[in-house]
């Protein structure tokens, strides 16, 4: 079982307490009606589908909070987790190892 670090509980807990919630850092457009159909489609449906490190959102049942995680989709390793609203964590060599 995966062990995931929750940045709000500051504890490393089993995967079963967490839910995956899609790709992270996708900001809703400020004025949706100004967007073309293609731009709106991209916002709604088009995702990175990364092979390797992937920024994604997770929710912890314990504290009820969404947070961001950087997970390698090949090895399923969590490289880092950080609170929602924080800037995207850079993909450093240490994190990628």
């Amino acid at each position: 079982m995966l062990l995931i670090h929750c940045p709000y509980c500051e504890d490393t807990l089993p995967e079963l307490e967490f839910t995956y919630a899609g790709e992270a850092h996708i900001a809703r457009p400020a004025d949706p009606s100004a967007l073309s159909d293609d731009e709106w489609r991209d916002f709604l449906f088009i995702r990175t589908n990364a092979r390797g490190p992937h920024y994604e959102r997770w929710r912890h049942i314990g504290c009820g909070r969404f947070f961001n995680a950087l997970r390698d989709t090949v090895s399923d390793r969590f490289l880092t987790t950080y609170k929602a609203g924080e800037a995207r964590r850079p993909l450093t060599n240490e994190a990628a190892e």
Binding site: M1, C9, E10, L13, E15, L16, E17, I61, G62, C63
Partner: protein, 176 residues
């Protein structure tokens, strides 16, 4: 209601129902936590999983802006909260009937919980509490002593949780 406890043999785990209590779900921004805590007479803890007790009421920090307050039935916490609303906007919801509380105790209680909780319950400090999952049901586990727990279960999940508890207790009693 008469609560009668039948105990025919020295069971490694005792599961019993606790009397109904007042349960309140409190959401308040961290900036207003202290003001509201003073109004309620509770020092609302800030670390997720930690508890504070005063005047028979207990507050458990469930999340950065979420608390669960448990008090004896009939306690009036709504009035002081309403009075403090202008200074500390918040949401206080009565969820007393949403859950039932089971007391789990006995020397094998950690084995019982380990059968269905993915979290390392043995590592949980005495006096702490956590919202976690029991099989697939969300429960709140309170650790009151080394082998003494309370578990708040949503009513609709209770039959499932009870059947699992009975099954695991039978297995433990049989030495499996």
């Amino acid at each position: 209601m008469t609560n009668q406890k039948h105990q025919f043999d020295a069971s490694p785990v005792v599961v019993e129902d606790l009397a109904p209590a007042l349960r309140l779900s409190l959401r308040v921004k961290p900036a207003h936590r202290e003001t509201l805590g003073r109004a309620l007479g509770l020092d609302l803890p800030t670390r997720v999983g930690s508890r504070a007790a005063a005047n028979g009421a207990e507050a458990l920090c469930l999340g950065p802006d979420e608390w669960l307050i448990v008090a004896p039935e009939g306690t009036d916490l709504a009035s002081p909260a309403r009075a403090a609303y202008a200074d500390a906007p918040h949401s206080l919801v009565d969820i007393s009937d949403r859950e039932i509380t089971l007391r789990l105790s006995g020397p094998a209680v950690l084995d019982l919980l380990a059968a269905c909780c993915p979290r390392n319950i043995a590592a949980m400090p005495v006096g702490a509490a956590a919202r976690t999952v029991f099989d697939s049901a969300t429960v709140i586990l309170w650790r009151d002593g080394p082998t003494d727990f309370r578990m708040d279960v949503w009513r609709s999940f209770a039959p499932h949780v009870r059947s699992l508890l009975t099954q695991v207790r039978t297995e433990i009693a049989a030495g499996l």
